[in-house]
């Protein structure tokens, strides 16, 4: 009368452990692929925001006027001839954040108020990019010697004509991005 005999304990254990192993493998594979796609998605969004900012700087820089170009450590200021951007000088600033990070800010700088107006009002900026690992401007300068290569400078002397080429080096917390190098009038 053994016709309805069930599984033995051993059989059951082997089956359950096999099932467990297969499930764990499957779940870990799924998790890896989900992680990859999430990080891809985040990187894509991040890239997109960087590209948007680059487009803004490119638009402003390619229409810049020759006057009013100023450089201070890690910031550039110039007047753009683009009507869409207004006639105020534009200022792009790499500002250090709180946690050893950087942020890129964008200001439209109003003309200095008269001395009677007391302290000038606080500038209202627009945060273009936050959580940056690095943010640095550079300026291409050709030395007098014809045979030497042009050099990237961190600074630009005041009163001199603006450089033909500028660059913006950015790194997100994910890592460095290729340099963004701009010539006047586009390339």
């Amino acid at each position: 009368m053994n016709a309805r005999r069930g599984f033995t304990l051993i059989e059951l254990l082997v089956a359950v452990s096999l099932a467990t192993i297969i499930t764990v493998l499957g779940v870990s594979l799924m998790r890896t692929s989900i992680n990859t796609s999430v990080s891809n998605q985040e990187a894509l969004v991040e890239r997109q925001s960087v590209r948007d900012v680059q487009r803004l700087i490119e638009l402003a820089w390619s229409g810049r006027l020759s006057n009013g170009f100023r450089v201070k450590s890690n910031q550039i200021e110039f007047v753009s001839g683009r009507k869409a951007l207004g006639s105020l000088p534009l200022r792009f600033v790499c500002e250090p954040g709180e946690k050893n990070d950087f942020a890129l800010w964008f200001y439209k700088v109003p003309p200095p108020a008269g001395p009677s107006d007391g302290p000038s009002e606080e500038l209202v900026g627009e945060l273009l990019l936050g959580n940056l690992g690095a943010c640095r401007f550079g300026f291409l300068q050709a030395p007098a010697d014809d045979k030497q290569s042009a050099q990237w400078k961190e600074d630009w002397p005041a009163g001199k004509d603006p450089p033909a080429v500028i660059r913006l080096d950015l790194a997100t917390l994910r890592g460095a991005l290729p340099p963004f190098i701009l010539a006047a009038g586009g390339s």
Binding site: N40, S149, A150, A176, I181
Partner: protein, 158 residues
């Protein structure tokens, strides 16, 4: 009697005892497992292919970005060697190698060579970027006027 059931096979009633459930045969189980494995394999292959595709697109975009920047950099002063950059071009764990080539475009022989050469000395600047273990590459080209002719264009009229 041997009645059919849609899920399991019913053993012929050899004894007077009730029908016993016979279960699947080994062949059936193997076929089912093989199908399952094939399906899982196809799913995984699709996932892998899609993530590889996304990575390829990102690398291509990075290379395009880099090439464009390097081209603008080199084309700013076409008659000098390209500016040096001490930082390695390593982005998202991939190394990118850049090579810049200059080629002077010689004017066509039939026309007044002297005049054309003075008016238009062209340099072709080509940036080649390659990256990855499977060498992928990309190139961009720009043309620039160069030399003293570019600095002082001949006066119009006359």
């Amino acid at each position: 009697m041997n009645r059919r059931h849609f899920l399991w096979r019913v053993a012929p009633a050899t004894s007077g005892f009730a029908r016993a459930v016979a279960g699947f045969t080994v062949i059936e189980t193997l076929v089912a497992l093989t199908l399952l494995a094939a399906a899982a394999g196809i799913l995984l292959a699709t996932l892998g292919a899609s993530s590889r595709l996304v990575r390829d697109v990102r690398e291509n975009e990075t290379a395009l970005w880099l090439a464009r920047s390097r081209l603008v950099e080199a084309a700013a002063y076409p008659d000098r060697p390209p500016p040096e950059d001490e930082r390695p071009d390593r982005y998202e764990g991939v190394d990118y190698r850049t090579r810049i080539e200059y080629r002077e475009i010689s004017p066509v022989a039939e026309v007044d060579v002297e005049q054309v050469a003075r008016a238009l000395r062209l340099v072709e600047i080509r940036v080649l970027v390659s990256w990855g273990a499977r060498p992928a590459n990309l190139q961009m080209t720009a043309y620039r006027k160069t030399g003293p002719a570019a600095a002082t264009p001949p006066a119009p009229g006359k």
